[in-house]
């Protein structure tokens, strides 16, 4: 497992770009934009055509897209915890 993780690290290395103050990988970003756009608009169009409902469905669709992306895409951050003593 350790080996696999290492090679994955190397494959992924230095491939992220900065958008809006945080790092993203282009591939994951494209996937996320497509997924969220699709779920949002799909939910909007399947909603019954009575005024507030399409919008509400759309919002729920966007949140579903967000949840899917959070599950599929890994954040590009490495968290290191350190014992901090005052220095």
């Amino acid at each position: 497992m350790g080996k696999l993780n290492n090679s994955e690290e190397i494959n992924q290395s230095a491939d992220n770009i900065e958008v809006w103050e945080d790092l993203v990988s282009i591939k994951d970003l494209v996937i996320s934009l497509l997924v969220c756009s699709f779920t949002t608009l799909a939910a909007y169009f399947i909603a019954p055509n009575e005024p507030p409902k399409p919008l509400f469905y759309g919002l729920v669709g966007a949140l579903i897209g967000f949840a899917i992306c959070s599950f599929v895409v890994k954040p590009k951050r490495i968290i290191q915890e350190e014992e901090s003593e005052g220095n």
Partner: protein, 451 residues
């Protein structure tokens, strides 16, 4: 007031506090971009105005408490407003005091809220007699606002020179939509243009990714390394009056008070100015930093609350950077809210007081306690689980949706166009304030100045 409504307000406030605790901690989230789309959708779905106000107040209080958490833990601002605090928070982090830094900032936020709520309500009522006079000149005032804000940017001439072309772009698109009949003549497409400006910087970057040369030349990074300092959990019930020293309490109350009065100016500018002013004479670096962050955090919170409430209660017109930005949906979200018929006209003074109290108290109780006690765990969870891509996807999806609803498929192209121009202007240092003011005054500029 009936019980059902109060329960609805509390539920909405709870929801706002939880959602914006998460979003507040996530790095690099612009206040306007994360607050407006959600509030807009709520307004358009026809939720009771008073419930929306409770939601919004709770959201901004929660967001303001949490956006300084990643500053303390990792030196990354959770929002534009937290940027001025980075330098001071890093001093405390270097001294191994990230946890104290969080507690001081969150406590500063509590003080800021407690000062700003009553002061804003009083100030708003004091302004009401002048409201009609101000309203008569609303359109030229937005234009003057655009010029004043342009004069405060780094490249003044560039900002001034871009006002007219940008107004032309906005009115040009509106006339095109009328001409081909996707929107009835006289109806101004507004919401989606507003969002186009907001996510302009992201749209510009996305388009650049399609440019091969540009894509290859973009700086590449490995992952972002974030170092956390491990700390013990805070014991007992957090109390801002104990966490802050007497001097810190004094300065924080004072900056919050000033911040409430200066609601018409740029909150980031005032925060930097006052924070430095009140901490510059302190020699000890740790005391200096903790005085600066507590008073800055109090001030940003106060500026947010007063910038929303004062224009909303007194005028019903978004005449402050806060009102024209993040709080915008409370003023103008056609067809539900328009400048002639919005929360200002619908809610009574006691409605405002109730919604504000419920919203701020719920957010303070939930977010303040959670942050002081569990900031470390919450931060780690969000940094590890919430990818930036998903946040961008979420807001992109909402913008698409609202663009389509405003004027059909053609408007998705229109919003991209606005985003491209607005993103370029933003990159040149012409901030949102200038652009939003132009969006408001565009019809007036075209018909009175160049028509």
């Amino acid at each position: 007031m009936d019980v059902v409504l109060i329960i609805e307000m509390i539920t909405a406030a709870l929801l706002g506090a939880v959602i914006y605790t998460v979003i507040g901690i996530a790095p690099g989230t612009d206040e306007t971009a994360v607050l407006t789309p959600v509030t807009l959708v709520l307004v358009l779905t026809g939720v009771e105005p008073i419930v929306i106000l409770a939601f919004f107040i709770s959201s901004i209080v929660a967001k303001k408490i949490t956006d300084s958490v990643p500053v303390a833990v990792a030196g990354i601002p959770g929002g534009v407003m937290a940027t001025p605090m980075v330098e001071h928070a890093m001093v405390l982090k270097k001294h191994g005091m990230a946890d104290i830094s969080i507690r001081k900032m969150a406590s500063g936020s509590v003080i800021g809220t407690m000062v700003a709520v009553p002061v804003s309500l009083v100030l708003a009522n004091a302004l009401i007699p002048f409201a009609d006079l101000i309203k008569d000149y609303a359109n030229p005032l937005f234009f003057i606002g655009a010029i004043l804000l342009a004069l405060m940017t780094k490249n003044k001439l560039l900002a001034l020179a871009s006002i007219l072309p940008f107004a032309l772009l906005i009115q040009g698109l509106r006339h095109l939509y009328w001409g081909i009949g996707v929107v009835p003549e006289g109806t101004n497409v507004f919401i989606s243009f507003f969002l186009g400006i907001t996510i302009g910087p992201v749209i510009l970057t996305l388009f650049e990714l399609l440019n091969k040369d540009k894509r290859i030349s973009l700086p590449r990074y490995r992952k972002k390394n974030i170092t956390f300092s491990k700390k013990n959990r805070y014991k007992g019930i957090p109390n801002p009056f104990k966490i802050l020293t007497k001097k810190e309490l004094g300065t924080t109350s004072l900056t919050s008070l000033i911040g409430s009065f200066t609601f018409i100016m740029s909150p980031v500018g005032i925060t930097i100015f006052l924070g430095e002013l009140f901490s510059s004479r302190i020699k000890d670096p740790v005391k200096k930093a903790s005085r600066a962050i507590s008073s800055m955090d109090g001030l940003t919170n106060a500026a947010y609350i007063s910038g929303t409430l004062i224009p909303l209660i007194a005028l019903g017109l978004p005449l402050s950077p806060m009102a024209i930005g993040p709080a915008h949906a409370l003023f103008n979200a056609p067809p539900v809210f328009t400048p002639e018929h919005n929360m200002h006209h619908i809610l009574s003074t006691s409605d405002f007081v109730w919604a504000t109290l419920i919203g701020s108290v719920v957010a303070l109780l939930i977010t303040y306690f959670a942050i002081v006690k569990y900031s470390q765990q919450i931060c780690a969870f969000i940094f590890k689980r919430i990818p930036h891509e998903a946040m961008l996807g979420l807001f992109f999806g909402l913008v698409l949706l609202l663009a389509f609803m405003d004027a059909g498929w053609i408007n998705i192209g229109g919003v991209m166009l606005i985003g491209l121009v607005a993103g370029t202007l933003h990159r040149w240092g012409i901030n949102y304030g200038v652009q939003f003011m132009v969006l408001y005054s565009a019809p007036w500029i075209i018909s009175h100045l160049v028509g």
